[in-house]
């Protein structure tokens, strides 16, 4: 409810509005998000928008396997890019690769998770909001809405980020949190599993989806099961915004991940041209924000455009 959507929005003007400086620099964004993941797609959009604006080349890659992610960093190092943006879901695994980049004098900005290790690994700054902080925020909101038993729907078993979101919610909710594993590539299956859970456990009075598509499927499930459970979700889509407007979804956690793509490119560009660093080693926080019925209509268009 505190995201101040309008204000943040001006940070992402259309690419043509500022004259590109055309430094010819190239930056690599390497995240732990699988291609096609709706959260990370917005990060990608942010980074690319910044790249266009500054006239720098931005490449985006993502892989949930830390080994693959570190190989992507190695590749960027051998390509001698001018800066690397990396999300650290698994800092231990990336330590060596990031170390190599730092040794090669390539500036690194860490994003999303891994704030605690950012400075230690030699990154110039950290931009983001760790997943468990976002999860804690969601837990608080749900608690305020009276949820005592929450179903946290995990659509990718073993994904660190998703696990951290659930854990964060667990810490602040105060009630019990049950996990449910579903298969994100088969929504009929998601609906049916959430329904099954709601049918067999009448105590559940809250559902937390970690992906907008799951949220839509869970909404149907709540209807099918005739349950009164409250539904909240991470991240936005046009459908979710509509559902929030209709009161079917209580709120959506909005990490404003657009900034996690946009800002690091800005910082790296400034670092390259002007040796600026931001935050003095302290992380730059991008959220969490919440989209509720109050501000849903404002962000609806933006979500549809892929910037929220």
């Amino acid at each position: 409810s505190s995201s101040g959507a309008g204000g943040q929005q001006s940070a992402a003007p259309p690419a043509s509005s500022a004259a590109p400086q055309g430094s010819g620099a190239s930056f690599a964004v390497i995240t732990h998000g699988a291609p096609g993941d709706s959260f990370w797609d917005v990060v990608k959009n942010g980074a690319e928008a910044a790249g266009k604006q500054y006239g720098v080349q931005v490449t985006y890659q993502g892989d949930g396997d830390p080994a693959k992610q570190s190989q992507l960093i190695d590749q960027a190092v051998s390509e001698k890019v001018d800066g690397i943006v990396v999300s650290m879901a698994n800092p231990d695994a990336l330590k060596e690769a990031i170390g190599k980049a730092v040794t090669a004098k390539i500036p690194v900005v860490t994003i999303n998770s891994g704030a605690d290790f950012s400075k230690q690994f030699g990154a110039i700054t950290h931009v983001g909001q760790s997943e468990d902080v976002a999860g804690r925020g969601a837990g608080e909101q749900l608690k305020a809405a009276g949820v005592t038993k929450l179903l946290c729907v995990i659509h990718e078993a073993g994904n660190v980020g998703l696990d951290q979101r659930c854990k964060g919610a667990e810490q602040t909710l105060g009630g019990t949190v049950e996990r449910l594993q579903v298969d994100v590539s088969n929504l009929a299956d998601v609906t049916s599993k959430v329904t099954a859970k709601l049918q067999s456990d009448q105590q559940v009075n809250g559902v937390l989806a970690l992906n907008p598509a799951i949220a839509v499927a869970a909404r149907d499930a709540i209807k099918d099961a005739g349950s009164q459970a409250k539904l909240a979700t991470f991240d936005l889509s046009a459908d979710v915004v509509a559902a929030i407007n209709d009161g079917e979804v209580l709120f959506a956690v909005d990490q404003q991940q657009y900034l996690q793509g946009y800002l690091p490119i800005t910082f790296l560009n400034l670092y390259k041209s002007n040796l600026n660093t931001v935050g003095g080693g302290l992380p730059v926080n991008t959220g969490p924000g919440f989209v509720t019925k109050d501000n849903a209509s404002q962000v609806a268009k933006l979500a549809e455009a892929g910037t929220r």
């Binding site: 917005v42 449910l180 088969n186 299956d189 099954a196 859970k197």
Partner: protein
């Protein structure tokens, strides 16, 4: 001399004779899994519960039946899962971004899906590369297309808003609606699934094409040698799978009114699993459509049953694996009892 009077044939009970059929072995697996969950969870065996686990079994079943035909014909289609996504994306994109009528958008989706199936079939039969590798190529390429095109058109990884499209209401009722049976609403997809299974069974058992399918899967060279149009049969099978993918993709798109670009990835193996549980041989030439349909139910029941029992989600996959293994084993033991050493 009538066959029954042949002194070289031992008298065998009806039960044993029935159990020899591939699908009836699967029925045993079905019963085992059903009893297991039904005994422990009253919700599981309630009409509402049944409607619930039959729903995903239906969409899985439609695909499993088509994939089973293809497997009997000796080929795989790894692109089938992603193609459901492609069909859905085409439907929603055309209807919402280009203002096409839903039915017209579905037609375009069908044409594209059939074209993909045709391409798979042509490449497999022309190059004689294994279909596993060819459709793997298609699988990866379609994944890229789904994501790339969706992003290019919408700027996000999903398209939505089908509800407002023209013609949605009727199409939704036909493909994604529900029917009331004794106060419980069942998904209409179940009807489609039964229809697909019935047609596939008829084709396999009672049509010339069915004979050809078994033959090209059992021994393609021998089949060609007696004049079976092997290439045409295989191409038709790939197109059948593509058709099923279009049907399922449309059902899901109409139901959720939005489609994500990564939908269907990984499902291709679930289809194959359901077909194998239902008694299809991976090497081709053997299996049944009803078996595959039952395999889908077994998978669906095990998948949902674990949730009904409320077992720890972290161990979900463990139970699922154990359950599938047990169901297949029960199937196999029964068939072995029925046929003894026959292989």
């Amino acid at each position: 001399m009538t066959v029954a009077a042949d002194e070289r044939v031992a008298r065998v009970g009806l039960a044993r004779r029935l159990l020899i059929r591939p699908e009836l072995g699967a029925v045993v697996g079905l019963v085992v899994v059903f009893v297991f969950f039904a005994a422990q969870s009253p919700v599981f065996r309630s009409p509402d519960g049944i409607a619930n686990w039959l729903d995903p079994a239906a969409t899985l079943g439609i695909m499993a039946v088509a994939v089973a035909l293809l497997m009997i014909g000796g080929e795989f289609d790894l692109s089938a899962g992603v193609l459901t996504g492609t069909s859905g994306l085409i439907l929603v994109t055309l209807a919402t971004r280009f203002g096409l009528n839903v039915w017209l958008a579905m037609l375009v989706g069908l044409v594209v899906a059939l074209a993909v199936g045709l391409a798979n079939g042509l490449v497999v039969t022309r190059t004689r590369l294994p279909s596993f590798i060819v459709t793997l190529g298609t699988f990866l390429m379609l994944q890229g297309v789904n994501l790339g095109v969706t992003k290019a058109i919408t700027g996000t990884v999903q398209v939505s808003g089908l509800r407002r499209a023209e013609g949605f209401e009727v199409a939704n009722a036909v493909f994604a609606g529900t029917i009331d049976v004794g106060g419980t609403s069942f998904r209409v997809a179940i009807v489609w699934w039964i229809a697909v299974t019935a047609v596939a069974t008829w084709v396999l058992m009672r049509s010339r094409a069915g004979n050809w399918i078994f033959a090209v899967g059992g021994n393609e060279q021998a089949a060609r040698a007696v004049g079976v149009p092997a290439a045409r049969t295989k191409i038709a099978l790939f197109m059948t799978t593509a058709f099923a993918a279009w049907l399922v993709g449309s059902i899901l798109a109409l139901r959720y009114t939005s489609v994500q670009a990564n939908i269907g990835i990984g499902q291709e193996f679930i289809y194959i699993i359901a077909a194998v549980i239902g008694g299809c041989l991976l090497t081709g030439g053997y299996g049944s459509a009803i078996g595959a349909a039952i395999g889908a139910v077994i998978f669906g029941m095990a998948d949902k049953g674990i949730v009904f029992l409320g077992w720890d989600a972290d161990w979900f996959k463990f139970f699922l694996g154990a359950m599938l293994l047990l169901a297949t084993l029960a199937n196999r033991l029964v068939r072995r009892y029925a046929e003894e050493v026959r292989h």
